[in-house]
């Protein structure tokens, strides 16, 4: 094995067994900055390990319907953030903040969803809650 490959292999092995910075796979496929999508209609919510995901439709500026699929954390990661398997249902209207795929496809990683009554649900990886908690914390 070439030295460089061996080193990469070792590093992956180290990171893999080290439990702290865990991920099955990274978020490299997604943009760094999130975008806000308004008035999505939920079509499906899959509450599962290792990633839950929500599918919803958005009508864009051109009047076309975009089909989105956005992943979030596992049930055990989302539960401390207030999620249950019934948090999102087909037919619900939600505003979604999402890190879209770099390739422009209508998929991404969830940052948070906001319901019409102002209730927010954050993804397990989302840091907004900490910042909001330190401040006025409205709309939680």
């Amino acid at each position: 094995m070439r030295p460089k490959l061996a080193l990469a292999f070792l590093l992956v092995g180290i990171l893999a067994v080290c439990g702290t910075a865990f991920a099955h796979h990274g978020n490299v496929a997604y943009q760094d900055k999130p975008i806000d999508l308004k008035a999505g209609t939920v079509t499906k919510f899959i509450w599962t390990n290792p990633h839950s995901f929500i599918m919803f439709d958005i009508t864009n500026d051109k009047g076309e319907v975009e089909h989105w699929a956005v992943e979030a954390g596992s049930p055990s990661a989302l539960s401390p953030r207030g999620w249950t398997k019934n948090s999102v249902k087909p037919g619900d209207m939600i505003n979604v903040t999402v890190f879209q795929a770099r390739n422009g496809n209508t998929v991404g990683r969830l940052a948070k969803i906001v319901f019409p009554d102002g209730k927010m649900l954050h993804d397990s990886q989302d840091r907004d809650t900490q910042a909001a908690g330190a401040g006025a914390g409205a709309g939680q």
Binding site: I14, H24, H25, P80, V107, G133
Partner: protein, 310 residues
């Protein structure tokens, strides 16, 4: 959740309340009602704990458990507990335990033999970031196998002691392993090509014994060589011999180390990983399954479109 235990045993349960943990000693019928209340309170405390843990809590967790666990998880909360636990019972590692997602790294991987390098070139993590392209067998919900199941996906561990064996049960994938304690010898050549050799198993063949009052030692052989040692895809042969040590440190703490010996692949034995488990107050863990149809739905809906080159 109402848990009723008929056995007239003294039972110590703790629950984490917002202000002060309390300890109850219960008997018989009282056990029924109080356990239910405690379970509800503990559960609701966990569920409503939306505020992130303090720096002090995380530091305490790291001190107690070697790694603090993900903030807000049951493991982190249990590791942050500052109450002094009761003493370790003798020859008893039974119960349900909370663990982190992954073990702490042990030794660095030793140099590989020529055979090991050959195996690694064929069978290793392809490093694909996107799940759709990754060759990790987990992504198809293939079995974790042993010893990967002892260093990865450790969130819930249950141990049951029977007269002639110990059962080790993992929350992840509802894995169970039998560790024979009746003095039987482990099979020879399991997984090899020798005539009459027992087939290899994803979870191997295990036997165990007590070392002193509080440490249970497990030996495992005959593991299937298509499984990975770790998430990095490190290979092993079916000659692999794994030694686990389960040390009951105190009533609430179980320290586990996993040592690997595979002279066909690695130049010397090494410590694969260690984990500190914590006693789960309500003694129940979740159902956590890898479901092939959902895994496929995820790959089709998210992973493949996200990773598509355009």
């Amino acid at each position: 959740m109402l848990v009723c235990l008929a056995a007239p045993l003294r039972f110590t349960v703790r629950f984490r309340a917002a202000f002060a943990p309390q300890e109850f000693h219960m008997r018989n019928r009282l056990l029924c009602v109080v356990t239910g209340l405690i379970a509800v309170l503990a559960f609701s405390t966990m569920a409503s704990a939306q505020a992130p843990p303090s720096k002090e809590a995380m530091a305490t967790a790291k001190e107690h458990c070697g790694q603090p666990g993900q903030p807000g998880t049951q493991y982190q909360v249990l590791c942050s507990d500052t109450k002094t636990p009761g003493p370790a019972p003798k020859h008893d590692i039974s119960g349900s335990w909370s663990g982190p997602i992954g073990a702490m790294r042990g030794d660095p991987f030793p140099p590989m033999t020529d055979m090991g390098k050959k195996m690694a070139s064929v069978n290793h993590a392809n490093g694909a970031v996107n799940v759709a392209d990754s060759n990790d067998p987990l992504n198809h919900c293939d079995p974790l196998g042993f010893p990967r199941s002892a260093v990865f996906e450790l969130r819930g561990l249950s141990i049951g002691q029977m007269p002639n064996r110990v059962l080790i049960l993992s929350q992840y994938e509802r894995i169970w392993r039998e560790v024979w304690t009746d003095g039987r010898a482990l099979p020879k050549n399991a997984g090899s090509d020798a005539p009459g050799a027992p087939d290899p198993r994803y979870y191997g063949y295990s036997a165990g014994h007590w070392d002193g009052d509080t440490t249970f030692v497990v030996d495992t052989v005959g593991t299937d060589d298509t499984t990975w040692l770790d998430n990095g895809g490190h290979p092993h042969s079916s000659d692999l011999h794994v030694t686990e040590r389960y040390e009951r440190v105190d009533h609430d703490t179980l320290k586990v180390s996993v040592t690997v010996e595979d002279p066909k692949v690695y130049a010397k034995p090494f410590l694969l990983g260690t984990t500190v488990y914590k006693w789960i107050p309500e003694q129940e863990f979740e159902e956590q399954l890898c479901i092939p149809s959902e895994s496929q739905a995820y790959t089709d809906a998210i992973a493949r479109p996200a990773g598509e080159k355009k």
